[in-house]
Symmetry: C2
Subunit: 115 residues, 2 copies
């Protein structure tokens, strides 16, 4: 895991930077959001839910989220393969913070529109 190296400097006095590195990136939030709404999704369901994402990006993002303990991956040993993804408890803990942020985002987004 080196995703956070770039942003890791002594100014992340708080752990904010760490959090942002975990949920940052182009597809992490859409993934998290989809899992939040649907609870459990299979790989291809996720891919369809997040239209526009490629296998590469989905796999990569999922793996990183999983490594951070935010997403849970359950693999069934059968043919054809079946893998289900869901939020872990830590992942769910994140949601309120995200909602707060989203609320603020909406607030300033609308102000910026009026300019």
């Amino acid at each position: 895991m080196k995703a956070e190296s770039k942003y890791q400097n002594k100014y992340d006095s708080c752990n904010l930077t760490y959090a942002l590195n975990v949920v940052g990136g182009k597809w992490r939030l859409p993934i998290l959001w989809a899992l939040y709404k649907h609870d459990i999704l299979r790989y291809n369901e996720l891919k369809r839910a997040i239209e526009g994402i490629t296998n590469m990006m989905l796999t990569q993002s999922l793996k990183e989220l999983e490594n951070h303990g935010i997403v849970h991956r359950k693999q069934y040993m059968e043919i054809p393969p079946r893998v289900e993804y869901s939020l872990t408890e830590d992942g769910k803990d994140l949601i309120p913070a995200l909602i707060a942020l989203a609320k603020w985002g909406k607030q300033i987004k609308e102000k910026n529109k009026r300019d």
Copy 2:
């Protein structure tokens, strides 16, 4: 203003993505945090507070934050030039959300360490 173009897709159902684009980037949070702690800072004070940042990055980040209405820029017309930066009300509104996120960041950061 094009910073958010890249992340702007129809999956930012919530306004989260927007918020992250405003606050994302390498130096925005350190700047915001410094302004939060010190209330008002001049350009060079900011630069010193955020050791490692270059003029380019500082100027650029400040301008974007200002354009988003998060940072207030007050310029005194005198020689030598004096410019003071501070958080706007919208900027201050952001702080609680950031703190929530930071708290979560700390939580999972410590879990990840134990792995």
